[in-house]
């Protein structure tokens, strides 16, 4: 049996009420008032498509063996590197094998995630691979006071495809491809350029998704009534409902487009919605998934008995519940660099990042892999040639020790107003890991007044800095104190 063996999801915790956008920007473009309901998810300033994909991928691999992965595919239209394998950064963060794996970016189109999933399923069905992880994420930057600003949210989801312990069996697919350009983002452009909304709705979503699904049914001989859930993105509410009507799908069988809770997460959205559907699914349920972007991929799954034993990760449900309202619209625009606030001369002092140093230390920096002394058993970070234990000091005798999934607690901390930061104060401190080891590390996703010594914390893969002059994004891990809520 071939299909989905695990899922994971990540919606960043900040939620911006669309009314906040309206209150700030409707004076400029009153039309946004038409979709003022609900809220959109907003990635923190230190997140991007790669870091969110890592979060979803880690979630998906919670109880799975990362060393058993044969491939990692990353789907996104907002990848930070045009030439450097972005999937490779995700793979390094997961501390995947380097030998005998194939990683790839699937990009340039919001249906890239389902296309990547089909590539994964092809490889598994053909017997060439056993286990392929597909992560999808998008963090699209929008102009202020636009419909895109209202519709788009940030998020990620990941699916693990394989043969063993399949929780949703793959039952077939159909794709159509056409150069329908409802929007595009040219090379070196920050923002989407959209065509008239009526055309996007009526000739785009409203026609292409039904056409592909009908094509699928014709090809497979299945009937739309066979499906318990039909999952497809479309941020226009009426059009989303209209597609169901066209296909003859009852309203309760249509997966919610999540406009109210996080907005459209772009390439990730078919996965995000599918994960949300799987979180509620029961054995025997049939789920049809379609994507949209220069065509449409349609995939069918049947939920198996195994889902009953499947230990659900944080997922979409869990990350939606980890919600903090971002009431400050200016803060959101600063996080996305839409407004210019002075970082000060201290903030100019970037040097370039040494690729040689990164290569030598890639496991430590990207994978949060420390070492464990074979002589005294002390886990340690950063890695050094000689053991840190003053009663040991043996050299060159270590095993790798992954800290990324080890719980820790806050030992010391500060909130620094002097450090150049997009979101001052810069909060950082010392954390101590369960079972030994410490790290002097940035904190994120917390407010200073919520942090206390002794508080539990978990690690999260984040942007460490962005070198604007050279277009380089540096990543490292940060500690997330485990507090509820914020702002």
């Amino acid at each position: 049996m071939v299909g989905i063996t695990s899922y994971g999801g990540y919606i960043p915790r900040y939620r911006l009420s669309r009314m906040a956008i309206v209150q700030n920007m409707a004076w400029y473009f009153p039309v946004i008032m038409a979709v003022a309901g609900g809220e959109k998810s907003v990635a923190n300033w230190d997140e991007d498509a790669v870091s969110m994909a890592v979060a979803a991928a880690r979630d998906c691999m919670t109880n799975k063996d990362r060393k058993a992965l044969d491939a990692l595919y990353l789907a996104s239209t907002t990848l930070p590197f045009a030439d450097r394998l972005n999937a490779g950064i995700v793979a390094a963060a997961l501390n995947m094998r380097e030998e005998g794996v194939i990683n790839a970016d699937f990009t340039s189109c919001t249906k890239a995630a389902t296309t990547a999933a089909l590539a994964a399923l092809d490889a598994i069905e053909s017997g060439k691979k056993d286990s392929v992880l597909v992560a999808a994420a998008d963090q699209r930057i929008t102009k202020m006071a636009t419909m895109f600003e209202m519709f788009y949210g940030d998020g990620a989801a990941a699916l693990l495809f394989g043969k063993d312990d399949v929780i949703a069996e793959f039952k077939g697919s159909y794709s159509m491809n056409c150069d329908f350009v409802d929007h595009y983002r040219g090379q070196d452009k920050t923002f989407d350029y959209g065509w008239e909304e009526r055309w996007m709705r009526d000739e785009g979503y409203g026609k292409i998704i039904p056409q592909a699904i009908i094509g699928f049914l014709k090809k497979t001989g299945m009937k739309i009534e066979d499906f318990n859930k039909v999952v497809y993105p479309c941020y226009f509410g009426a059009t989303h409902r209209g597609i169901a009507k066209t296909l003859g799908v009852e309203a309760e069988k249509v997966q919610n487009n999540m406009h109210n809770v996080c907005g459209d997460t772009g390439t990730a959205h078919p996965f995000v919605m599918l994960v949300a559907a799987l979180e509620e699914a029961k054995p025997g349920d049939k789920i049809l998934v379609a994507s949209f972007g220069q065509g449409c991929d349609v995939l069918a799954f049947e939920v198996t008995e195994k889902i009953a034993d499947y230990k659900a990760p944080v997922g979409i449900k869990g990350s939606l519940a980890n919600r903090v309202e971002l009431s400050n619209y200016q803060k959101y625009t600063k996080f996305r660099d839409l407004i210019t606030a002075d970082l000060g001369i201290r903030g100019e002092q970037f040097v370039n990042t040494s690729m040689t140093a990164l290569w030598r230390n890639r496991k430590m920096v990207l994978g949060m892999v420390g070492s464990k002394c074979n002589k005294c058993g002390t886990p340690q970070f950063p890695t050094m040639p000689v053991c840190v234990n003053p009663d040991c000091w043996s050299s060159h005798d270590f095993d790798d020790y992954e800290f990324s999934n080890v719980d820790c607690k806050v030992a010391m901390y500060t909130g620094d107003m002097l450090a150049a930061s997009v979101d001052p104060p810069a909060i950082y401190g010392m954390v101590e890991f369960e079972g030994g080891g410490k790290a002097f590390i940035d904190f994120t996703d917390c407010n200073l007044d919520q942090v206390k010594v002794g508080m539990p914390a978990k690690l999260s893969f984040r942007k460490r800095h962005y070198d604007k002059e050279r277009g380089y994004t540096g990543y490292f891990w940060k500690a997330v104190p485990q507090i509820g809520g914020g702002e």
Partner: protein, 402 residues
């Protein structure tokens, strides 16, 4: 068997500029100002100096690399000049080089000079140092500054002793109030206004829980010392000699940063270096025997914790001793009599020598309004880097009774 440095070297001259925002002076002017005072005090000529050491930390932003800037500015007579850098211990390192040279017999008279020109960078605080620890460190170190790194110590200290952070802050406030009171009496100090505890506690926050007045001045300045053997000093006609009793350094080896037995409430290095220094100086009860101290009060919490690491306050008792006024100018062991880094200012490379300058003035009875009654031993202390990894230097000087 090592016999230590005690009484092998005498300080025969010292100089120190006014510290502060010396907008119109470069490092050359600052060095010459300290050097000329020092040379006149020693009563010797340039050409009698056999070797020199220069201490400077942020070479890239102020004077440039190598010891050439000092050799050029001071017009030294083509002698050996060595630049040393060891974070905030750089000034004491320069002094240590000169002292060891004289003690070894390599030269008769040596010069130590420290300088820092911090106010040429265009922004407040110390220069950004995210790339100062090398390209590997740059890949993973947090977005940290000096006040933030030391501020962490306050949370660690409060947690260790079960104290309310606000009570620790009150003791920290007294540390700063005391230093401001002393600095007001010092014409060479950068900051000369007395402040109240209320002002300190209500100041804008720099890095939780440190406010503005918990942080020392960022200053330009230079200080210098000329040293020789006691015998040579006497032959030069010097009386009432001030000699070096101890010079110790201790550096972190990664334990604090990476090993779980560090409590985050003390300096491993200071704890160790102070014991070695007392032994070298022949001091058995520092709380009774040390007459005065200039410690590295880069931040009020640093001074608070250092009182315990120097074995003068018992562990956990520094806040009480501070609130009791034990470290005030009229207390048991007056601390930061010249205003400290807090008010005299902190041009990094000059700081260790500036501390010795105050000890030297006090021991000679030349400290003016700040003069203490008959001091015997003066202790200086620098702490460079961060609580999690640092360089500690300790010096003890005193009256020569040989």
């Amino acid at each position: 068997m090592a016999t230590g440095i005690r009484d092998k070297v005498a300080i025969i001259g010292m100089g120190c500029t006014k510290f502060g925002e010396r907008w119109n002076d470069g490092p050359e002017e600052l060095m010459v100002e300290a050097f000329e005072e020092c040379l006149a005090d020693a009563g010797i000529e340039r050409k009698q100096i056999g070797a020199a050491w220069l201490g400077c930390c942020f070479d890239e932003v102020d004077i440039g690399k190598s010891a050439l800037p000092a050799s050029l500015a001071l017009r030294l007579p083509n002698i050996a000049v060595t630049r040393v850098e060891n974070f905030c211990a750089s000034g004491t390192e320069a002094f240590r080089g000169a002292v060891y040279a004289v003690a070894s017999g390599a030269c008769d008279i040596a010069l130590a000079i420290g300088v820092e020109k911090l106010k040429d960078i265009g922004y407040g605080g110390l220069p950004e140092f995210s790339s100062a620890m090398g390209p590997r460190n740059y890949l993973y170190f947090p977005n940290a500054t000096a006040p933030g790194c030391f501020a962490m110590l306050a949370t660690g200290y409060a947690a260790k002793y079960g104290l309310d952070i606000n009570d620790v802050k009150k003791a920290m406030a007294h540390v700063s109030v005391k230093s401001h009171a002393n600095g007001a009496l010092n014409p060479k100090a950068h900051l000369r206004k007395p402040v109240t505890e209320e002002q300190v506690l209500n100041a804008p926050q720099i890095a939780f829980p440190l406010g503005l007045f918990d942080c020392c001045g960022v200053s330009d300045g230079s200080a210098a010392a000329i040293v020789t053997t006691p015998e040579m000093a006497k032959s030069l006609g010097k009386k009432d000699l001030v000699t070096v009793k101890a010079l110790q350094l201790s550096l972190s080896n990664g334990t604090e940063q990476g090993f779980h037995d560090w409590d985050g409430a003390h300096f491993v290095t200071t704890t160790k270096a102070s014991i070695a220094a007392y032994k070298e100086a022949g001091i058995t009860n520092p709380r009774e025997e040390i007459s005065m101290m200039e410690v590295h009060d880069c931040f009020s919490i640093t001074e608070l914790v250092t009182m315990e690491d120097l074995h003068i306050s018992e562990r956990g008792q520094a806040p009480k001793d501070i609130m009791d006024g034990f470290y005030d100018r009229d207390g048991g062991v007056p601390c930061q009599v010249d205003g400290g880094l807090k008010c005299f200012g902190h041009p990094i490379g000059a700081s260790g020598l500036r501390m010795l300058y105050e000890m030297y003035l006090q021991l000679h009875g030349k400290a003016g309004d700040r003069q203490l009654e008959n001091p015997k031993y003066g202790l200086t202390h620098n702490l460079g880097g961060f609580p999690i990894m640092n360089v500690c230097s300790i010096g003890i000087v005193g009256k020569y009774d040989g």
